[in-house]
Symmetry: C2
Subunit: 224 residues, 2 copies
């Protein structure tokens, strides 16, 4: 490879995980990657800010080309390394439509998950309301039920019969909801999708290290 | 065209406008489009829900392929109609990186704009705090200053020398901020970009009809 790839990442972050799966799928394994700690606020240090002015992870660079938005990085990698590994863009217009749709639409799940998980850190104490917490949890539950309904109509992959960029982008967000205790019984189609995807070599090779160390997650999403 | 295109849209909505600019750029002008009224809640009626289960606009269909997320629809249209009009994907890896990055990153401006504009409708009266309103306006101001800084380093288009999908996606969101009174003096590079883009034929042809009727917007973003 002519251009150096550098990735700063955090364990368990769906946006970071997306980029790592995309790199695996494109058979790019020898690159400069560095695991940073969110707890130690390493993502706010100069090293990250030099690549990502938002002080967020991933911070991703290919040569001088910086692509920090994870979905953008996946699209860029597919475009730059088309012939490496499987094509992540389906051939049929039908699957292509669904692939683009779900790849962007997943940001709804991501946003609502972050809303629920970061409430106390986002909202100053004097502005906190139990009613707001409840509403945000309900919004996430409604959102996840919509995705469960999608998987009743399509499968086994997110955009249909073939693995695609939609799986690279969507899976890490879905995996996080199960890590946080989402019920396999209440969301059987999403659980089936999760079980299929977690066996994929690119997913196994990039499984968050702190999930491996501590396979038991939490139960904060149990009642959703 | 073999497949029928149907678009339900609302005037002044950046996501709808994106899709309309993309269709113009791809020389697709004869399609079934219907203007709906947000004020009359027409986007919550069956006609929309049949295409977009979220009850949001745009609702976009190409044959049986539904792509409601506006950025997804732009990517899909470029992919399906590659040879129509100019390519919206830059040739150089450098501009391509920036094109993908900005096309997704603009969702930060979009989200923060919506946060500010919908506060009263989103937050029940008993949960409202002036401090939260102030914080959300500051977050939007910080975001817009970041984009102003981007345009000091690149131009005249969002991803560099050539018009690209990033302009199709980013421009409507930037145009809305100026419509709402953003200062041309405080954001000179964004204003320059706005003035360049508003003369583009695809943008002129799709200018929001209620902005044409009432060219004076508001001043809610004046102090940002």
């Amino acid at each position: 490879m002519a251009k150096t790839i550098r990735l700063l990442w955090g364990s368990g972050s769906p946006p970071c995980w997306r980029v790592m799966i995309a790199l695996e799928e494109k058979n790019i394994r020898e690159y400069d990657k560095k695991l940073l700690s969110f707890d130690k606020k390493e993502h706010k240090a100069k090293e990250t800010l030099d690549i990502n002015p938002r002080g967020e992870l991933p911070a991703f660079r290919h040569g001088d080309n910086v692509v920090n938005e994870s979905i953008a990085a996946c699209l860029y990698l597919e475009s730059q390394f088309k012939s490496n590994g499987p094509s992540l863009i389906p051939e049929s217009a039908e699957e292509q439509a669904l692939m683009y749709q779900r790849s962007i639409e997943i940001l709804n799940v991501q946003q609502k998950t972050v809303d629920v998980l970061t409430y106390n850190e986002r909202v100053p104490e004097a502005e906190r309301h139990d009613s707001a917490v409840k509403r945000e949890r309900e919004a996430l539950s409604t959102e996840l039920k919509l995705w469960e309904s999608y998987m009743h109509k399509v499968g086994p992959y997110m955009a249909g019969k073939s693995f695609s960029l939609a799986d690279v982008v969507v899976f890490p967000t879905i995996a996080l909801t199960f890590r946080l205790g989402l019920s396999h019984e209440k969301y059987p189609k999403l659980a089936k999708y999760y079980n299929l995807m977690k066996e994929r070599p690119s997913v196994k090779a990039t499984w968050p290290p702190h999930w491996l160390e501590n396979p038991k997650g939490s139960d904060v999403f149990k009642d959703l």
